[in-house]
Amino acid sequence: MSAFFGLVRAELLQHRAGMLITPAAIALLIGVFFTSQLIFNTGGFDLTLGDVVVQVGDNTVLNQEAAERGGAAIAATFGFIAIPIFLVANVVSFFVMLSALYEERSERTILFFKSMPISDTQSVLAKYVTAAFIGPLIAIIVMMLLSAVLSLVSAAAFSMRGASEAWYYLGKLPLLKLFISYSGYYTLYSLWLAPIFAYLLMVSSLAPRSPFLCALLPVAIIAIAEIILLNSSRFLSEIYERITVTRLGEVLARSRGWEPDREQRTLENFFIRFSDFLTAGVFPTFWAGIVIAALFLCVAIWARGRKTL
């Protein structure tokens, strides 16, 4: 097991610019923007969660109810300001998967890595786990640290303007619960995206050159062939729904009894539930994706064993 940790650590080291520095830099930018709003924008700006609106930076003294519900609102809002970090984490995962097995061949470092007592299966899985789960987890940790820092900054700013209940309001922030929720959602998301990630890793292991084009070409050919021959675009729709998580999102929403036309963004709904995993687990499309991903990973492992250079 320690060998696998060693492999993951090496992957993180190799991709530290994308997996560590980039989320941190974006968090820093968001933090600077948010803090400057608190300091310079005396009129404040709104943070919303459903029917709760909290004016950040406003001199208005918060009442107790607003403080209690504001904790929930601002916690969720921190989730929204984390969207750029999540998007970047996804883009990083995409490119790491696409380059992981190709670069070690083109740079010939594969000869060094293969001189170690590590199987191709371990190597490929370490690359997959790092890009699909560990990298995004780091982005979540960065985002939670940002949330904690901004919470302190917000409370201090409110306090200085006479809103002493701001510290109570800070105490209502469910940061740990949020961290668990983000991690849980992202785990589901990564499993949902597994066939796409595994496809990229497979292409990376097979591509003689330009893995990006090699990944794109089969998709384009299948999509065009379907349009021409069958007059449909089911294949592209599947990929779109996979990436945007629309179908999985609908399944999870239905399992919670949500009505499509009603606002459901309360804090309790925002937190992940164990039942979400069960719901996803009995969703056939979810498992179909996992099976396809496993097949792609098997090909990637096989190709790494055969294609040293």
């Binding site: 060693g6 080291l13 740079e107 470092t109 000869l111 060094f112 001189s115 007592p117 590590i118 040293t308």
Partner: protein
């Protein structure tokens, strides 16, 4: 696997790339405690053979290294085999301390302290140096320090000193003998700089067009192959003995004989033991008609 079992046992080993036959039905064994030099012209099949031994590609035929099938059991085999290839393959994005930690993480037989001690005592490589900023010589020293700190039974070196100056090359080979070789462990080396290793190898394997054309212990080679520098008036007599190689020199012609005794050769001129380089040139020359061979360096 007992101590007397061969380190390598190959029977009918072949490798095809499409219609191209890179290795043709090769068979050989390597007992433990030997230093084997594998020699061949560019494209002869040396690296293909090494890659098969290291499980880096598939092959047909029978092959066992340390009793294991290299392709099926590469990860297990690499616990007891160290390998340095012909180019700088250390990850350029790592610092020296990162690569040491990586090997420590993944290799159960790696002694990190030993590697660090060697780097400190014998090189200018520092833990915080980035590998991409190291010179070629420093990179090879780092790689060698890592491999020497692995308690392995077989060390495989594929053109390890290419691009190094003579001092670095000499110190590299000295380190192999003083710090690795102990008559139980084995070393396999491929290099084009044969004259630098013919004093340290115990066995030589010549490959030409994917086939082994010579597989012998160096002691046997000394007894079997002899070089005679023959004056012009003795050339016909020398040619009549069936030399395997003939090369015109200034004032004389150099002949190499296989299996002719000293008594027969001594009237022709001064006899000396054939070096690995002499034999390599002799064996790699196209032999159309013995005694009427084209001289000079063919490859």
């Amino acid at each position: 696997m007992s101590e007397e079992d061969p380190i390598i046992k190959a029977r009918g080993l072949s490798k095809h790339y499409g219609s191209f036959e890179a290795l043709k039905d090769i068979s050989f064994t390597l007992p433990p405690g030997r230093i084997l030099g594998i020699f061949g012209a560019n494209g002869a099949g040396k690296t293909t053979l090494l890659n098969a031994l290291l499980g880096l590609h598939s092959y047909s035929g029978e092959l066992a290294v340390l009793g294991l099938d290299p392709y099926a059991d590469r990860a297990k085999l690499m616990r007891d085999v160290s390998f340095i290839s012909d180019v700088a393959t250390l990850p350029r994005w790592m610092q020296v301390r990162d690569v040491l930690r990586y090997v420590e993480d993944v290799h159960p037989n790696f002694d990190r302290a030993k590697a660090e001690d060697r780097l400190r005592a014998q090189t200018n490589v520092k833990p915080r140096h980035r590998i991409k900023n190291l010179s070629k010589g420093m990179t090879v020293q780092l790689h060698l320090s890592i491999m020497l700190a692995i308690d392995s039974k077989l060390l495989v070196l594929d053109e390890p000193t290419i691009g190094l100056d003579i001092l670095h090359r000499r110190s590299f080979y000295d380190a192999l003998i003083t710090e690795f070789f102990d008559h139980q462990r084995s070393i396999i080396i491929t290099t084009h700089q044969m004259d630098e290793i013919d004093q340290i190898i115990s066995h030589a394997l010549f490959i030409k067009n994917g086939e082994i054309i010579l597989d012998a212990a160096l002691d046997d080679l000394g007894a079997r192959f002899k070089v005679v520098d023959v004056k012009a008036d003795q050339q016909d007599a020398a040619a009549a003995l069936g030399p395997i190689f003939k090369q015109p020199m200034i004032g004389y012609t150099r002949f190499i004989f296989d299996g002719i005794d000293k008594t027969t050769l001594s009237p022709l001129g001064e006899i000396r033991r054939a070096s690995v380089t002499d034999l390599f040139i002799a064996k790699m020359q196209p032999v159309e008609a013995k005694g009427e061979l084209p001289g000079g360096y063919a490859q």
